[in-house]
């Protein structure tokens, strides 16, 4: 266990950035999101939830796959290079880290997504325990311990005027070594006390006790066919907010961009809320917003666990709870089914 004074954090960032690309919560025009660190960036590690999840670091909202060039009748194809330099994502929360584990299930399974795999290989996750879990959080429901994020390479705690730092993997150790000159030894007891403090807040949050009865791999068609969806989806305006702020939504679309000198084939996040989601030449297999709305929750709470040993693809970060324009969210869906006793 190491620690560093808060006031020395800029030096730490600087040191990390010497050998890695550093992604860290940055405040821009009033909002905090993970962005590449620069000296002039306004780092904000106090805000609990960034608007977007840090998913971008491993699975960017849009990324080039390859570029076709054209000169005369000659066509060249250049594959986009895979990430081959290490980068650090600093300040991911426990739920965000779990989110990456969910993505792993999708992208690292055969056939392996090489773009994602390369990023996972070169990415180092420095997670941070949640100091003040919020009312919209419900990570505990999915077995996530926000006091001590698992799955990260380094875990940190912000305690008083100090940041406590514990490497947990080999990658984490290596990163620690590279910045060791800035760190001093830390005290496990302080961390334990902090964890205790956080747990107390968690226990006060009602949604942390949400029941997932009836969801998961056991359910097959009962929930799918429930008339409740017809009522629940109604306020949905079919925007992509919930999916774009979600740390686990992994659907993407592949598109071509005509640069005038050729074509860039890129992929970009898609949203199951959009009417052209899975649109094919013959049309769409989900023709109504109700069907698309249902897809999102069935996928997170039924299909995904069915296919992945019971792992839900919701991590309880609560971003959708905060951001839905019309106040719909997965918690309300779960509660609605509970109430109806379906």
């Amino acid at each position: 266990m190491y620690k560093i004074a808060k006031e020395n954090l800029p030096d730490l960032y600087e040191a990390i950035a010497e050998t890695n690309t550093l992604y860290i919560p940055v405040k821009k025009a009033g909002q905090t999101n993970f962005e590449q660190w620069t000296r002039s960036a306004e780092v904000d590690i106090k805000t609990l939830k960034t608007v977007k999840s840090p998913k971008d670091a491993f699975f960017p909202q849009s990324e080039n796959l390859y570029t076709c060039g054209k000169e005369g009748k000659k066509i060249t194809i250049t594959l986009e290079a895979l990430t081959d330099e290490s980068f650090v994502v600093f300040g991911m929360k426990a739920c965000d880290v779990r989110g990456v584990e969910v993505l792993d299930k999708v992208f690292l399974a055969e056939p392996v997504d090489t773009f994602y795999a390369a990023r996972r290989e070169h990415g180092i996750i420095v997670a941070m325990a949640c100091n003040e879990p919020e009312l919209s959080c419900f990570c505990k429901v999915f077995g996530i311990d926000c006091t001590e994020p698992s799955g990260a390479d380094v875990i940190t705690w912000l305690i008083g005027d100090e940041l406590f730092w514990r490497p947990v993997t080999e990658k984490g150790e290596m990163l620690t070594d590279s910045v060791k000159r800035l760190l001093s030894d830390g005290d496990d007891a302080a961390v334990e006390a902090k964890r205790e403090e956080i747990s107390k807040i968690v226990s006060k949050i009602p949604n942390m006790r949400l029941s997932l009865d009836g969801w998961g791999r056991d359910d097959k068609l009962e929930r799918f066919n429930s008339p409740l969806w017809e009522d629940l989806y109604k306020p949905c305006i079919a925007c992509g907010t919930c999916t774009f702020v979600c740390p686990t939504c992994q659907c993407y679309d592949i598109k071509d961009y005509d640069t005038g000198h050729g074509v860039q084939r890129y992929r970009c996040w898609d949203s199951c809320m959009y009417s052209d989601f899975t649109l094919m030449a013959h049309g769409n297999n989900r023709t109504s917003q109700m069907q698309r709305f249902r897809q999102r929750f069935m996928h997170k709470l039924v299909y995904f666990p069915t296919n992945n040993d019971g792992m839900y693809s919701c991590v309880g970060c609560g971003r959708c709870v905060n951001k839905c324009p019309q106040n719909l969210n997965i918690v309300k869906v779960i509660k609605a089914f509970k109430k109806e006793g379906v």
Binding site: K28, A29, Q31, L135, P235, I237, D253, C268, P325, K335
Partner: protein, 320 residues
């Protein structure tokens, strides 16, 4: 609120309306959602208070396709949106039974967050029957109070007034919430140097994640299929490219609603990245008012809009 429920029950019972479009209590006090109610019983979940900011007029497009009349609650500003939709034949007046509800300004959790109040478990003082000057708030970490005004949405500070331009009946009182000029922010930007303006909009618009919430919530963006979703213009509607696409999207979005935008402020309310999108719409409104005479979209369900009319002596492009 009880008055609303009672009247609604009457109208449902006597068959005047087939269903009700209103707000349903959320799982937290701050998050009521738009909802349909089909019978008197379900109305036990009905709610109308300061957090019911959503403009329900756009839902009436769909409701116009349903059998029977739909009772809809519209706040004064929402009636302008409804009227504009009526003008564009997107809603059916015959299918709507409009109860104009009083409005004392709308508040939101985001506004509370902005003044440092988080994790709100309970709120008192935001009912229509309340004075709406102070909110008493219980949070996860303790109790607090704040001025109602401080939790209000931007649009309410510059509210155009509490007139209803279309309704069948009115229930509830409104309060004057105005304490600013709605063009002040636009003027502030206009006064900047081009470099400052560019930096301002670059910072704001580069936050855009192309979630399309602004478009989808907008009652003027009522196209069955948006031009950005069509293949005709070959534009990427969901990839943020951090260069030009966002600007193009937001300029065109504002342009397409120019002369039709009622300045209901929903775009800015719903933006997950807090982009002040209304600043684009208001710029057009301000230009239109200055160049072509005061015009208020939605005020009337008849007549041409500023962009579908002209005078011989209009200003020349680039001169203003």
């Amino acid at each position: 609120m009880q008055e609303l429920i009672n009247r609604t029950k009457e109208l449902l019972a006597d068959g005047t309306v087939a269903r009700v479009l209103g707000w349903r209590r959320g799982d937290l006090p701050t998050n009521p959602e738009p909802a349909y109610f089909n019978d008197g019983e379900s109305l036990s979940e009905f709610v109308y208070n300061g957090f019911c900011g959503a403009n329900l007029s756009k839902y009436m497009i769909e409701a116009s396709e349903l059998d029977g009349r739909t009772l809809v609650f519209l706040k004064p500003c929402d009636t302008y949106s409804f009227n504009q939709l009526l003008k564009e034949n997107r809603v059916d007046r015959e299918k709507a039974y409009i109860i104009g509800v009083g409005c004392k300004g709308k508040i939101s959790e985001a506004s509370l967050n902005a003044i440092g109040i988080k994790n709100v478990i309970d709120v008192k003082g935001a009912e229509l029957t309340d004075a709406c000057d102070t909110l008493t708030i219980e949070t996860l970490t303790g109790n607090t109070t704040c001025a109602y005004r401080d939790a209000m949405l931007e649009r309410c500070h510059v509210c155009r007034g509490k007139e209803y331009v279309v309704y069948d009946e009115l229930i509830g009182d409104s309060a004057d919430t105005v304490d600013g000029d709605r063009f002040d922010e636009v003027r502030k930007i206009e006064a900047m140097s081009p470099e400052e303006r560019f930096a301002f909009f670059k910072a704001e618009l580069s936050k855009c994640i192309r979630c399309n919430a602004c478009r989808n919530v907008c009652p003027a963006c009522s196209c069955r299929k948006c031009v950005f979703d069509s293949t005709k213009f070959d534009s990427a509607q969901k990839a943020n490219s951090d260069s030009f696409e966002e600007k193009m999207f937001h300029i065109i979005r504002a342009f397409h609603v120019a002369g039709r935008c009622t300045d209901c402020g929903e775009c800015s309310r719903v933006c997950p990245q807090g982009i002040p999108l209304h600043l684009l719409n208001r710029k057009f409104i301000k230009d239109i008012n200055t160049l072509y005479g005061d015009f208020c979209a939605g005020e009337s369900a008849e007549g041409a809009t500023p962009l579908t009319s002209f005078t011989f002596g209009d200003a020349e492009p680039g001169t203003v």
